[in-house]
Amino acid sequence: MTARDLAIRYGFLVLMAGLIVVFGVTASGFLTVPSAVFILQSVAITGILALGVTCTLVVGGFDLSIGAVATSALMLSAYVMVVWEMGAVAAVALCLLMGAGVGLINGFLIVKMKVPDLLATLGMMFVLLGIQRIPTEGNSIATGMALPDGTTATGTFSPAFLALGRLRLGDVLPLSVVFLLLIAVLVWSFLELTRHGRLMYAIGSNAQAAALAGANVERYKVAAYVISGVLASVGGILLAARLGRGDVASGNNLLLDSVAAALIGFAVLGASKPNAFGTAIGALFVGILLQGLTMLNAPYYTQDFVKGAVLVVALVFTFALTGRRTRSA
């Protein structure tokens, strides 16, 4: 391996290590177990969403609806428990179903109706943003809220549900982090180790050739959007469990941050393509950056700036070195 190859493969990871060292020196308390756990926790939700969007990137698509799916799941789970007074299992099940359903519709629009991916999922995003607010007429959902029919909602967030966002294994590791790690490993294995993942990469690179090699292109594409929808709803469930109420939110920042994580993933290990490991690292990278900057008392706008600048520098470094142009996601 030449120095250049090394730089391509490990440049980004070295940059991240450097960041950790800098923060470790300048921000007291950065290099502690609670801080590390917390960084993981802070990126758990965007990380899970980003892993979903990675799957759609792999088949050459894109999913702009993930942020809206997550906030829809947030609202739905709250509605199920607070208004319908059902339990945690029902709430989780319905949210996952909703996510899968949205993914199916996205896939259907893209595969069968031939609507370009960005368009279909953008439309879906707007639909979800509207629809999730209709049942409560734009209000957040919390126990005791007045319903449009004049009665008061008496259901509560079930403790089992809240535990999803709040329980800590061995008093250290939050459940949401466990979910992130689990999902990261699952998605990674799926994409890298199974023949299904291989076919999805083939489809993303040349769908026509994959079809002529006997791949069921349409089914895999739909599957990618279903995975993305389900993972986004998992993110929404964790969000609801953390917040403990159904907050009205657009999810735009969730979308942007997860897309950023997935795209940063291109630069990790010189992959130059969507990949689950890179996505996880990308999410972690953003988490470390924000945690460190916040600990240094940097105002929020400098965080945006530094996030962008480090992103650009890291990517220039990687892509300029690999010197080959990948299909742009």
Binding site: S42, A142, R242, R245, N253, N297, Y300
Partner: protein, 326 residues
């Protein structure tokens, strides 16, 4: 009871609410107050929603003029973009009231929820609970008018009480806001474990800080003071061992009612005054627990000052029957 013109024939009257902000509980509750008071008066209401597009909001005032409405309520917005539009409405002979936006026009009554008072009430409670010396974290995003006004009060307090030591300032409007603020607050309290008071003068901020404090297992040590309230906030304040000690709030629904009433007075040829201030109420965790308040209706019922503001209420004015809620 006889009504002054034009409310003797209210079905002919149409008023417009031109909004800058709409997403969130505060704005939804404000709208419900506007709707209720308009219904009590029997007038038609047209809602024009610019969705945080200040330029569009100015256009919407013009649009309301073109539609021939009888009165306009401007809800939030930017002074610079609304000033001229509001003047155009007056020029067209349409009375205007403005809520929480200064359009620099003496013919336009200002409805205000006095952000300075909100911040003052919450901070006075913090002093009462914690003495005059504490280490503070402060949540603030500049550039948002009500937050900027609350910030002025915070600055004054820091001057008046030099014992207040602000070690961290943070804040973001990335949504979901509570989630993003929780992430920041976690970093802040791990970098500054000596913080005892968090001043978070917006309930989404307070909610986020509370999540962080809970997750860090520091609820016993940190006290949160905030502004604004909703049913969900009440639940969060009342959680066992909750760090969220007090909040100062006006009832947004009441503010909505007052806005309509002030406009109605103008329409009837009466003067509501240059400034119509809806006074805020301090709500403490203790009080909520003592009176077993679980939602906004109960809060209104047990804390009359919160339920009703006796402003812009001449004798002839019909008041909404249902209690102000949520």
């Amino acid at each position: 009871q006889s009504m002054p013109a034009p409310f003797d024939n209210p079905g002919e009257v149409e008023i417009a609410l031109v909004r800058y902000l709409s997403t969130g509980d505060f704005f939804q509750a404000y709208l419900s107050g506007v709707e209720r008071q308009a219904e009590a008066l029997g007038v038609n209401l047209r809602v024009l929603d610019s969705r945080q597009d200040a330029a569009l909001q100015a256009d919407m005032v013009d649009q309301a003029i073109a539609l021939g409405v009888d009165g306009i309520i401007i809800q939030h917005g930017l002074t610079e973009s609304m000033k001229e539009a509001a003047q155009r409405a007056l020029d067209a002979g349409i009375p205007v009231v403005a809520f929480d936006v200064n359009v620099e026009n003496e013919n336009i009554p200002q409805i205000e929820q006095s952000d300075r008072d909100l911040a003052r009430l919450a901070l006075e409670q913090a002093i009462a609970d914690n003495g005059e010396e504490w280490t503070a974290g402060y949540v603030y995003v500049p550039g948002i008018a009500p937050l900027d006004r609350r910030h002025e009060t915070w600055t004054e307090f820091k001057e008046r009480y030099p014992g207040i030591n602000e070690v961290a300032q943070f804040g973001t409007l990335d949504n979901p806001i509570a989630n993003s603020v929780a992430n920041q607050a976690r970093s802040v309290i791990s970098a500054n474990p000596n913080i005892t008071v968090m001043f978070a003068p917006y309930d989404e901020f307070a909610k986020g800080v509370k999540i962080a404090v809970d997750e860090a297992g520091m609820s016993g040590q940190v006290s949160i003071y905030s502004a604004d309230i909703s049913t969900a906030d009440i639940a969060a304040m009342r959680e066992p061992g909750s760090a969220w000690k007090a909040t100062a709030a006006t009832n947004p629904a009441v503010v909505g009612e007052v806005s309509v009433r002030a406009l109605a007075m103008l329409l009837a040829g009466e003067d509501p005054g240059d400034q119509v201030i809806v006074p805020p109420t301090l709500i403490t965790q203790q009080q909520l627990n003592d009176e077993n308040i679980t939602n906004m209706e109960e809060l209104s019922a047990r804390v009359p000052a919160f339920a009703h503001a006796d402003v812009a209420a001449p004798d002839w004015m019909p008041l909404p029957s249902a209690p102000s809620q949520n």
